[in-house]
């Protein structure tokens, strides 16, 4: 087997290698040196895109957004990216499932969201939330699903993940920051915490090395929330291949999972 991967000058071996890789790729196994092709949608901010594998929120997967309070710009951050995606798909819908409060139409319009394509679904329990998304995933008519579900358990998140894969569109789940310590099957977990200069975004988990963070979201004069155009304090632009924390990184403000990833001890 070893010569299969070393003697790449031989064209026949090269071809065999390519076939071999293609075979394994079907099972989701990729070569370590090569990054899997991750379909993603832009977050609307170049700085944040650079931090995320694939260059944005993953499509066909669950993204968890963990915030410590409502009203920290956590929804504006998402609408930034969704507005562009809605404009690119003019016939598709965006579904809000079980928002915790009353949304304001004018504010959504200001964020570039077309309210006529934004059905809002009120549910009574977690089971209904997941059921709704599963039903809607049958119709390939959506740009994204946004679910508010603080109490969703791992099984529910897994079902959402399957629905996301089926409908080939991103599913965003808003949860409380205290859930950051719990394990989650989400492909991407972003924590939003308050900082002195602006909100701090931290990538708790992603496909690839996690741990990057950005201070980006700021209250601006002309619009409610704004991504800072050129983030100054990007703490370590993604470490190349490991999850090990380096000396330059500042302490995380978010509770870590109970078990650190392999290799950090």
């Amino acid at each position: 087997m070893s010569n299969l991967y070393t003697s790449t000058s031989n064209p026949a071996a090269k071809r065999r290698l390519a076939e071999h890789e293609a075979y394994w790729r079907r099972f989701g196994v990729h070569r370590a040196t090569r990054q899997a092709e991750l379909p993603a949608m832009s977050t609307g901010s170049a700085a944040l895109d650079r931090l995320l594998p694939g260059g944005g929120y993953p499509i066909g997967a669950v993204t968890e957004l963990l915030s410590s309070n409502t009203g920290m710009g956590e929804l504006s951050l998402l609408l930034h990216g969704l507005a562009a995606r809605m404009a690119a798909h003019p016939r598709r819908q965006l579904a809000f499932v079980a928002p915790p409060g009353t949304l304001h139409a004018a504010a959504l319009a200001q964020s570039g969201i077309d309210c006529a394509r934004l059905p809002i679904i009120h549910c009574r329990d977690d089971n209904e939330r997941v059921w709704c998304v599963e039903q809607m995933a049958h119709a390939h008519a959506f740009t994204a699903f946004v679910v508010w579900g603080d109490s969703l358990d791992t099984t529910a998140l897994r079902r959402l993940q399957l629905a996301a894969e089926k409908s080939v569109c991103p599913v965003f789940v808003y949860r409380d920051i205290r859930r950051a310590a719990e394990r989650s099957p989400a492909a991407l977990r972003v924590a939003i915490t308050a900082g002195a200069k602006g909100q701090r975004l931290e990538i708790l988990k992603c496909r690839g090395p996690a741990g990057a963070r950005a201070v980006g979201l700021q209250a601006a004069l002309d619009q409610p929330w704004q991504m800072r155009p050129a983030p100054v304090s990007l703490a370590s632009v993604r470490a190349p291949a490991s999850n090990e924390s380096t000396a330059s990184e500042t302490r995380s403000h978010v509770a870590r999972p109970a078990f650190p990833p392999l290799g950090t001890r």
């Binding site: 009353t102 949304l103 304001h104 504010a107 049958h138 119709a139 909100q199 929330w225």
Partner: protein
């Protein structure tokens, strides 16, 4: 060219509450001149020798353990009218007639000459008709001829060879003549239609009266057929009487499958769609239970209606057994045929399924569970955004920043506010709920961006300003 369909056991086949009533061990009886006679029988009874018109006592001798039902004319009539809607698919000239004093058997007669080309010939059209009728579970006999009465005569022909042969070779009883005239003709030695048609008209009138001659002339097409044209109704409204009370929603699902299948066949034939359907469930002594199915888009698909009804029934607990089901639709709309675009539009594939999914969501969660936000042109912040049950057509965007989350009731703002921008004076509603407020955007120590206001109506000039939180910039 005319197609005649006769339904000899219509009184049984038209019952709604079994998946296939034709296969049940059932007899339908009616009082005729003081005697109880069988008007329709299920297949097991026919196998044991029961025939239509038999006295009930005779039928009981041959088939002892049969379920006996009284005939219900109203139900038959309603079912035949639903079938008329189905027949509309094959012809625009449809005549229906339920069995009665004049008419020996429930029948549908339709003109198919104009539809042959559309359906690709006579054989294919007849195959499609047969397939539909078999799917609906009706027993029928079928005849095709140049006039309606001749088509009916062919439909009465007992053997296949006679059906495909010529009119002249049909047995005399196929003509549905007056029984006395028929007996007399048979006594004169006439056996076949051709022999009767060859007789001189003058002699016929003298011996058998004008009615017999008129009938023969209608058979030959020398006289107009005098059938009443079936008119497509404005809306679908029908009642299904159930022979036994249905006590569970699970049982109702089965009954509704057949009922909605008939509705779908009707809509398909009428080339129409419906958007709302009211299902009324009648009980013995309680007021009827009403179920309203409101669809997001006009539809005519049986499986979709069935699924929506199913979700709706899952939320229902039956107060009492159901004896009868009535359906009432809104006005029938013309079906909008979908046009395929020349270039495949990747983005819009699958979007047409959204209304169907919406119906399913609403059927399970309730109609009000799905809503859309609409911006209202009102200065009052509480009233400038409402939730409505259909997508808004226009959207008005405010110029000043508005919070994404609006609190239903303003709350006292925390003390550690940093005002970022403002004030924005909102002063309105002097005629009702007068407000006069200065709105600010402010940050609190938890990192939230708040929409706060200072009330100018109740504020005292000497006291420090009190802020109320009205929204959150999420």
């Amino acid at each position: 060219m005319w197609l005649a369909l006769r339904f000899p056991h219509w009184a049984l086949d038209s019952l709604s509450d079994a998946v296939a009533p034709a296969t049940t061990a059932t007899l339908v009886v009616e009082n005729q001149a003081g005697k109880r006679r069988v008007v329709a029988a299920g297949e097991p009874a026919i196998e044991q020798g029961v025939r239509r018109g038999m006295v009930l006592a005779d039928a009981r001798m041959r088939a002892p353990d049969m379920h006996i039902l009284e005939r219900r004319i109203a139900g038959e009539q309603a079912a035949l009218e639903r079938l008329g809607g189905w027949a509309w698919r094959y012809s625009s000239q449809v005549h229906i007639a339920p069995a009665g004093d004049q008419i020996e058997c429930s029948r549908v007669v339709l003109e198919i000459g104009a539809s042959l080309k559309l359906f690709g010939g006579r054989q294919r059209l007849l195959r499609a008709v047969r397939r539909d009728l078999n799917r609906m579970g009706y027993r029928y006999s079928l005849g095709v001829a140049d006039t309606p009465d001749a088509a009916l005569a062919f439909a009465r022909a007992p053997t296949r060879g006679q059906k495909d042969g010529s009119l002249a070779h049909l047995p005399l009883h196929c003509l549905d003549l007056d029984p006395r005239a028929e007996l007399s003709l048979k006594a004169s030695g006439l056996r076949q239609t051709g022999e009767l048609l060859a007789l001189p008209p003058g002699a016929l009138i003298r011996r058998y009266g004008q009615a017999t001659l008129d009938h023969l002339e209608r058979v030959r097409g020398q006289r107009p057929h005098e059938l009443t044209l079936y008119q497509l109704p404005q809306r679908y409204g029908t009642r299904h009487e159930l022979t036994g009370a249905v006590e569970t929603t699970q049982g109702l699902v089965f009954v509704l499958r057949r009922i909605l299948g008939e509705l779908a066949a009707f809509l398909q034939g009428a080339d129409a769609t419906i958007q709302t359907l009211q299902i009324k469930l009648f009980h013995d002594d309680l007021p009827p239970t009403r179920l309203m199915l409101r669809l997001a888009a006009p539809s005519r698909a049986a499986d979709h209606l069935e699924r929506v009804a199913h979700e709706r029934l899952a939320r229902l607990t039956l107060a009492a057994p159901v004896l009868e089901i009535a359906l009432a639709s809104d006005r029938l709309r013309r079906h909008e045929h979908e046009q395929d675009s020349l270039w495949r539009d990747e983005d819009s594939t699958g979007c047409e399924q959204w209304p169907a999914v919406l119906d399913r969501l609403r059927a399970r969660l309730g109609h009000s569970a799905v809503g859309w936000l609409q911006a209202v042109d009102d200065h009052h912040p509480d009233q400038s955004s409402t939730e409505i049950d259909r997508p808004p057509t226009d959207s008005a965007a405010a110029s000043a920043p508005r919070p994404l989350w609006l609190l239903d009731e303003p709350q006292r703002a925390p003390n550690d506010l940093t005002l970022i921008s403002g004030p924005e004076r909102i002063e309105t509603g002097w005629w009702q709920h007068s407000i006069r407020r200065d709105y600010f955007r402010a940050r609190d120590s938890r990192g939230r961006l708040l929409w706060v206001y200072r009330d100018l109506v109740h504020a005292r000039p000497d006291s420090p300003p009190v802020y109320y939180m009205h929204g959150l910039f999420g």
